[in-house]
Subunit: 497 residues, 2 copies
Amino acid sequence: MTDPKLDRLKTLVGEVDDLRKASTILFWDQRVMMPPGGAQARAEASATVGRLAHEKFVAPEIGELLDGLNEADYDYDSFEASLIRVTRRDYEKAMRVPPELTGEMRRSSALALSAWGPAKQNSDFQSLLPHLERNLDLRHRYVECFPKPDETYDVLLDDYEPLMKTAEVREIFDELKRELVPLIQEIGDAGEVDSSFLRGEFDREQQREFALKVVRRFGYTDDEWRLDQTAHPFMTSPGEGDIRLTTNFRPNDLSSIFASMHEFGHGVYEWGVDSSLHRTPLGSGVSLAVHESQSRSWENLVGRSRAFWRFFYPQLQQTFPAQLGSVDDEAFYRAVNKVHPSLIRIDADEVTYNLHIILRFELEQELIDSRLEPRDLPQAWNERMDEYLGIDVPDDARGVLQDMHWAGGSLGYFPTYSLGNVISVQIWERLQEDLGDIDEQMERGEFGEIREWLRTHLYVLGRKFTPQETIERVTGSRIDPGPYVRYLREKLAPQPA
Amino acid sequence: MTDPKLDRLKTLVGEVDDLRKASTILFWDQRVMMPPGGAQARAEASATVGRLAHEKFVAPEIGELLDGLNEADYDYDSFEASLIRVTRRDYEKAMRVPPELTGEMRRSSALALSAWGPAKQNSDFQSLLPHLERNLDLRHRYVECFPKPDETYDVLLDDYEPLMKTAEVREIFDELKRELVPLIQEIGDAGEVDSSFLRGEFDREQQREFALKVVRRFGYTDDEWRLDQTAHPFMTSPGEGDIRLTTNFRPNDLSSIFASMHEFGHGVYEWGVDSSLHRTPLGSGVSLAVHESQSRSWENLVGRSRAFWRFFYPQLQQTFPAQLGSVDDEAFYRAVNKVHPSLIRIDADEVTYNLHIILRFELEQELIDSRLEPRDLPQAWNERMDEYLGIDVPDDARGVLQDMHWAGGSLGYFPTYSLGNVISVQIWERLQEDLGDIDEQMERGEFGEIREWLRTHLYVLGRKFTPQETIERVTGSRIDPGPYVRYLREKLAPQPA
């Protein structure tokens, strides 16, 4: 028998979920479909729908229902216990922040994002500075809504990686830094890999067709997926059985093929969430880091593997014979895995990428702890780029202004990218233990068994458990950078001749 | 100075409008973009957003504000008086219908629409019959929510053509019938027009490009408009400066070019509504008939005119030289204006179209007055098709099952199509009086003056006045079929040799 209180809770969170899906469509449409003239009306509609979703969720009735429900009445693993547990945690967080502050944070980040575009364009940090100061100020007020944490940064991090502590991240990142800085040095010393053939003219429509060929092999179907062109790629799912990937097909390189696999990884995670969890707070991926682990798995562990390209490279050559006809598969494999310190995070290779993240993670902590003033960010940024990557930053556009996250007010977000890298290999090792030699499957263009393993072990769980619990259920251990570092070294370190 | 009650009313109806815009996007996306797998989640999200918009609108606070506001405090023509007047009318209508009944009507029409597809496919009226009976039953209950009307049908009609009476429509339609039945006879006696070249292979992408060329000349810009492919064409506007046309580009005829102009007419009406009216109940076209007058103006009065094709036909020939290279412009003009009784309303010509409507209008009244049982619809339909158009109906798929309106529960909708035809010519005559010889402009491919006349005289008004008031403001007279009948006769009756 079911508790009528639980049924009522399901009804109410179902309505909140419907409103969030409406927000999702408003957002996707704005980025992908909306004519620019619709911007003002869309801003108002989005604000109203977002505010109503929040109001409906923090309604007193939900609080009263939660007071009358006890997750201990059910198996820890059950849908019921998970629903009560996760809704309670979300509810308690949401109740702590006054709607006025939420509103101010939203407004401030909207204004700052509008200023970020031109600031980056003109490499004009000063014009963004007041916005960053305002964002930071509001984040300080936000932190004060919560019980005193071990470290201020914990509160920010928790919004993106629930229940993760700054100290844990620091420990992981310190190990990464210790291992990766010398690895980059070794690779640099071994000499340059030729990747010149990856730059050139590549017809967008042909890139799109090739990307579709790849993700269809992975599990994309026209029944439940879309792939569209956009300026800043993202994945979103406005409902069960409705997975939307976006990619920026660029005319002068092949990066969008990897970006498509990346977004597929996000999409297939949402796609695989158990049906019974939909229209509840349990019905999506558990955290940004775990999400990123899946985008990285499909982009890097699959999409930058030799086995993958054994199958796909002949097709790619056929698609672009003028550009790739004289490039052999090993040269291509080495080029798409080239490690080389560079300025821009989103274009970085598998190894140096993490140092871009660590730099941001450190600066974010210093900012929120008031050890670093926003006005001193460019200098701190440039010094650390030199220290970690040996890179001279020529201007702020290619330095501290390159990402939109801080303008958007997202402090605490960046670490999830590298945590995702770390987790991806932990999960992959377990998958390999279970499935044996998956290279053979990939060389035959078969990815169904990989996808199904990930689905049944990870994706189905949705948000039933905490991120840490989820990772432990799948891998048997806590987050551990060891496997990731070994993977990078084995794949990318100079091999003895 | 402004009344704070009025400001508050504006805020509240603004939120309702935001939710309706969200509904609009959910709908557009479902029809145009959504992968089919998203259907279930979308149904839930749409239901919730639609219900919340209704709940927010019938909130007691809006009633209290309206009680405290008096439109007579402001000029009749002012924004303020119109807002109070129109909101009051909408509110009083919305309050009369119990939410349970609204919910039942929605569910019933959703079920009936699902049954309609297969019923039409299999020409199986019996499978749709229980749904039609249920819909009709619910409409009887709906009618009872309102004060006793002169005729039962008045209540249904009012939802689509506010404040219009059945008796007025009947008078107009009786005149149309009296004039058009013999006109069709005359045209038939004069012999067949060759339109065989309009059937053939026409590349969809080329059709789309040509349609875009046309609507761009009319005023479509990439900044504020979209044109997409869909199964059942429609226009929608999910916000100011965001006008979305859809067309079904069919591979075997050119009808989508006219359909595109038709949807442009709907779009340019919404596009031209005065900015100050947006985010209020005044911010859209005033009624379905007046809306249809604009789609018909751009489709027929512009798009099927000799002057229009003087400019565009050479381009169309160039686009389809194999199909049209040997067809001269006069032959083409006659073909796209061919009058010929046929089975399907949406494919009907300018003259016979109205008889398809009159037939439906008559049957709808008989149904709601219980003079006709739903089970007897097919027979009544077929008899009247023979009487008005001399057409034998071979099966119900091409007869009573062809339209989705009755399955969707929309009784009272059909007359607005022919009323739109009538109004379109009344407005056009005034436009011609003001602008002089517009044929010369159209022959040069210039439509800006026409569009601006319509905008400043009609589109800007939005819903500020009643449909009847709006028509009188623009044309100086009430709805009158005289000009329309004259137009049809002059354009399409056999000319003395």
